[in-house]
Amino acid sequence: MTAFKGLYIKDLKLSFNGFIIGLFLIFFAMIASFALKEYFAEPSIPAIVSFIIIVLHVFYLPANLFTSLQVEAQSQLWLHNPNRGWKLFLAKIAAGITYFVASLLVSIILVKVFIVRTEYLGEFIGLSEMLSDHLYIMAGGMFLSSIYFTVWLLFYWTLYHALKRIPILNQIRWFVLLIVWLSVTILGNLISKIPAVQDFKEMGTINFHDFTKELGENTIFPETAELHLTSIIISILITVGVFLTSVWILERKVEV
Amino acid sequence: MEEFQASKPIYWQIVDRICHQIVRGEIQPGEKLPSVREMAIQTGVNPNTVQRTYSELERMAIVETKRGQGTFVTEAKDIISELKSRLQKEIIEVFVKNMKELGYTKEEMISGLKNFEEKEDRG
């Protein structure tokens, strides 16, 4: 067995219970939505609930990773390992993605079987269109944003645990994280307001006018009609950069 | 695991023990001693120390190491009888020294020993 496979299997086992609980919650929410539909005589409730379930999957990967990391944080003994930090992190992300995809697939199947094929599509035009026609685009978008959030989570988690070795900051670690977060956000906004940067972002824009028209006036995500290729590249670069920074902090600054 | 005295090196205490066992006949001439590792586990002692014990016994010609076979107690009778008389001498030395410290004369020691022996024999 390779080191990565060993780590991957370990990380699958660490968050298996979380996965089962997640599935249970999805089933429960679905069943509850049908009960509520009957109770309030409001036929669109199942569709709204299933839409929420799918949207909430954006938090699935970060939440999964966080619980998995918290197990390691109890001792940080996972750092006694000759394999590099990126392997330790990637194995966790891979295990998280496995459960994320499985959970999302289960949700999509449930939506397809119980909502789309029945008369419970509801009256919001956008919603029903979204659930029936654009489910996969939505799922894919969520997958990508999920990874983006996850990498930032890794960064803040490692930073938090690295601060432990600095006693003055140890007490106010959450505050330090907040300051870092604010600085990063403000800096990001300032940079994106620079006209040159804005122009650069506009460079690779693809329009989806047809898509928007199709959705009509009640669209939920009119923004998705425009795709900025350069923005995507920038996001990828940020993701990789933040990941590598987290690895560096983990290897050099986190102590057992 | 065995108990050891604090004041003497452990390797020396194991040498002593093995010598006593040979004199008592618990270990026969020509018998194979446990390997260093086995002896270490039996006594609960660091194998480096056991190795030193065996080297010391070898230096004293009480054991011989045969390449690839292990460590054996010598079959040379003169060495074993020498060992016997050495142990005897050591014990007598201690006895005499203690008795002298208490102020006993040579004659008193001998008669004391005879009396003790007779009582022992009568049970």
Binding site: M1, T2, A3, K5, G6, L7, I9, K10, K13, L14, F16, N17, V71, Q74, S75, Q76, L77, L79, H80, N81, P82, N83, G85, R165, I166, P167, I168, E251, R252, E255, V256 | M1, F4, A6, S7, K8, P9, I10, Y11, R37, A40, I41, T43, G44, V45, N46, P47, N48, T49, R52
Partner: protein, 228 residues
């Protein structure tokens, strides 16, 4: 082999190690002895690359220690930490997958020796059996250096004995350097070549155990009472 040069470790105003220098040689068994909070544990973690010095250098075979040293060092933590979803076998498989020097045969022998059931969940094991398993996965590696942090602490005499026997049976004495940090000397006195007394983050003395007996007529325990 393992050397500390003017190593200081500070946690804020608290000093865990204060300008410590020493060298440990290959193929010896060292006892790091001292009361709780003396700096034993910190020293071991530094050797394992799990804690970094505030100043000074820790090096192994001339190389400055970082996290990669885990390839040459098997470190046994004092913590009773385990993955609760794991079975004994899972733990062995996982440990084996992470390192290149894992000796499966030795691991199997050790599991039998420690009387562990491969299919038992770790959370169902007693604390003593988990300590035994920790030793199994540590000793099953053929690493040049073994670091054991408080291997006996909080364990009953039966477990302690099995750990000592395990060490005696499976350490490669000619090739492995072993460092055992403990405040309980009884169990391991006979196992040690050298003792290092540490207190308040400073090394008080380093002695050869047999020499102590030969020249000073002292066992390690008596010697410790004299220094501390």
């Amino acid at each position: 082999m393992i050397s500390f040069e003017h190593v200081t470790k500070k946690y804020g105003r608290e000093t865990a190690l204060n300008d410590v220098s020493f060298t440990l040689e290959k193929g010896k068994i060292y006892g790091f002895l001292g009361p709780n909070g003396s700096g034993k544990s910190t020293s071991l973690k530094m050797m394992a690359g799990l804690v970094f010095p505030s100043s000074g250098t820790v090096s192994v075979n001339g190389k400055k220690v970082d996290r990669k040293i885990a390839a040459d060092i098997a470190y046994l933590s004092e913590l009773d930490f385990y993955y609760s979803a794991f079975t004994v076998q899972d733990m062995i498989n996982f440990s084996a997958s992470q390192v290149s020097d894992f000796d499966w045969k030795k691991a199997e022998e050790l599991v039998a020796f420690m009387q562990l059931e491969p299919n038992k969940k770790l959370k169902q094991l007693s604390k003593g059996n988990r300590a035994r398993l920790k030793l199994v996965v540590t000793l099953a590696r053929n690493t040049p250096i073994l670091l054991l942090d408080e291997p006996f602490s909080g364990l009953d005499p039966m477990v302690r004995e099995s750990i000592v026997k395990g060490l005696l049976s499976y350490i490669d004495f000619a090739n492995q350097t072993v460092v055992i940090a403990t405040h309980e000397i009884d169990e391991i006195e006979m196992l040690l070549d050298e003792v290092i007394a540490i207190q308040n983050g400073a090394i008080r003395a380093i002695e050869n155990v047999e020499e102590l007996r030969e020249t000073k007529g002292l066992s390690v325990i008596e010697w410790m009472k004299q220094i501390f």
